[in-house]
């Protein structure tokens, strides 16, 4: 039902590393590919070869430009899918019970058979993680690849979300964020993983790892690494000594 379940100890989710995401869209397309033949209705595309092609996607890659005060603007590629919030407003607003959060692992899902396509859950989601399917008119969202992670027909090693398995830069990680000892939790602790829009009060499970600090172009050489300068004319003299050392 659309009341949120009591908080689960298991909180499955993703950790996305903005320091290495190259913005290649691999995860988004593989997600589309897996899910269009998988959970629920296909992810439809309308006017697919026309003037305004538009489809349902569960994961999209945005690109931001960030301008620090004293160094050149940088670009951050920014993948975004459902964050499987602990206080998921998309669930409680749903009038039909279609939208729900699983008590056992915290995954937020839409039971498409019950969905009336009112769209309210997508209004309630601060992140734009839900999209109405343009053909089937039911609400679509990231399923955390529930039909992969528990799928006995897949090899153990493949029981991870499609986007995680495919990401060529390994910028996406999957695990139990409720377990402080999981790899993902440790990664979040080490790298200062953060929540998107904490002020929205949704307490996302998914975490983002920040880009590491960049070297500014105007940073001068460290004194210690400053190459000791040989006079141009002295170079050939230096060469003699250096060759001598070589023997």
């Amino acid at each position: 039902m659309t009341l949120l379940p009591a908080p689960s100890t298991k909180r499955l989710g993703l950790v996305i590393d903005l320091d290495i995401c190259v913005g290649c869209h691999a995860c988004a397309v593989n997600c589309k590919e897996w899910n269009t033949g998988g959970y629920g209705a296909p992810l439809g595309d309308v006017d697919a070869y026309g003037v305004k092609p538009e489809g349902a996607w569960l994961n999209r890659i945005h690109t931001f430009e960030v301008s620090p005060k004293d160094s050149p603007a940088q670009i951050v590629h920014f993948p975004k899918s459902c964050l499987h919030c602990q206080d998921a407003p998309c669930v409680t607003v749903c009038p039909t019970g279609a939208s729900y959060k699983r008590s056992e692992d915290g995954i937020v899902l839409v039971d498409e058979d019950r969905c009336i396509g009112c769209g309210l859950c997508s209004w309630a989601c601060p992140y734009g993680a839900r999209e109405m399917d343009p053909v089937e008119k039911v609400m679509k969202k990231c399923t955390l690849c529930i039909d992969r992670i528990y799928n006995d027909n897949l090899a153990e090693i493949d029981r991870v979300p499609a986007c995680v398995r495919t990401c060529p830069a390994h910028a996406r990680h999957y695990g139990d964020l409720g377990d402080p000892n999981s790899d993902v939790s440790k990664m979040v602790a080490e790298r200062g993983g953060f929540d998107l829009m904490p002020e929205a009060g949704t307490r996302p499970v998914n975490k983002y790892l920040p880009p590491r600090a960049k070297t500014s172009p105007n940073t001068p050489p460290k004194q210690s690494e400053q190459t000791e300068s040989l006079e141009a004319t002295g170079f050939l003299g230096w060469l003699d000594k250096a060759l001598e050392k070589l023997g």
């Binding site: 305004k52 951050v76 209004w123 992140y127 929540d195 920040p210």
Partner: protein
């Protein structure tokens, strides 16, 4: 937000309808002629029903709409469904009882009023609950919805009703008063909305991406060059100039015109049915107001798309 005609139609007409139903339930003096009473009740009820029905037009699966009654414990949309059905059912019984029986109906009437008002309240809460849309996320939203519902409902019943005055006060004067209060609330709402930006709630591109710590954050590329459901539904905003113009139109048609008509009725002691004109004008103004309610609202999703 995208101003969907079906939703605008729904909130305005069902607001007026339930306002009128609430007033009828509360015992607003209507014609003693049963046919006329019935017609009045029918118009009020029909407005509410048309509104509700039109709200299902924007559903992807209207055939499953019945499922929406199940989640009243958490969902304002579900509560709205439940409340509206109760209100309309009770209203039906109330009207039939009034027409065909001598049973006392006042108790039932109060229940009709309560559920009608509750319906309007739940409608407003669908929007007011959304933290994602700071414009809406305020107690003023239900206040305005209720006030508009009562004001437009009042114009309707006043036009149809037999009373020229309630107590000592001329109906037209009351209408004027309610109108002024409702629009005053809306103006307060607008004023609040002006300060209720996403940023004022701490929602910025910086917080949405967590990159604000590094520097100023600006979208360079949307994820797709084409549109999507979100950009159509939520990342739609009208220009400020345009909005100001429309506000002016809403105020002229929806507030000034009905007030002037009501004033004329009061001054020249025209028959109350003339207030019907005020009702029509107000409804027209409310369409514009409601269009703006959506079009001016900014959803936090826009931080990822513009």
């Amino acid at each position: 937000m995208h101003p969907a005609i079906s939703v605008i139609l729904f909130t305005v007409t069902s607001g007026a309808g339930f306002g009128a139903v609430a007033l009828i339930g509360a015992g607003y003096p209507l014609s003693d002629n049963p046919v006329f009473f019935f017609l009045t009740a029918l118009v009020a009820g029909a407005l509410a029903v048309i509104g509700l029905a039109s709200s299902t037009f924007h559903l992807g699966h209207p055939e499953r709409a019945w499922r929406a009654f199940s989640q009243w414990r958490s969902s304002w949309l579900s509560r709205e469904g439940v409340a509206s059905v109760i209100a309309l059912t009770l209203f039906g019984i109330f009207v039939l009882a009034r027409l065909f029986t001598d049973l006392p109906t006042q108790g039932l009437g109060w229940a009709v009023s309560a559920f009608s008002i509750a319906t309007v309240f739940t409608t407003s809460m669908i929007y007011a609950q959304l933290r994602t849309v700071p414009h809406w996320h305020s107690w003023l939203t239900p206040a305005v919805y209720l006030a508009f519902s009562l004001a437009s409902g009042f114009l309707l019943v006043a036009a149809a009703g037999k009373a020229s005055a309630l107590g000592e006060i001329p109906v037209a004067l009351i209408a004027m008063l309610i109108l002024l209060i409702a629009w005053a609330l809306k103006i307060v709402w607008w004023q609040r909305a002006a300060g209720a930006s996403l940023a004022s709630r701490g929602m910025t591109s910086g917080s949405a991406t967590g990159l604000g710590k590094i520097g100023e954050v600006r979208l360079l590329e949307r994820p797709h060059t084409g549109g999507n459901y979100l950009t159509r539904e939520m990342v739609h905003q009208i220009g400020r100039k345009h909005a100001a113009k429309l506000r002016f139109i809403a105020l002229v048609i929806g507030a000034a015109l009905p007030v002037v008509i009501a004033a004329a009725v009061a001054w020249w002691e025209f028959a109350t049915p003339v207030l019907g004109l005020a009702f029509v004008a107000m409804l027209a103004g409310l369409f514009v107001e409601r269009w703006l309610f959506f079009a001016e609202a900014k959803h936090s999703v826009s931080l990822y798309y513009e």
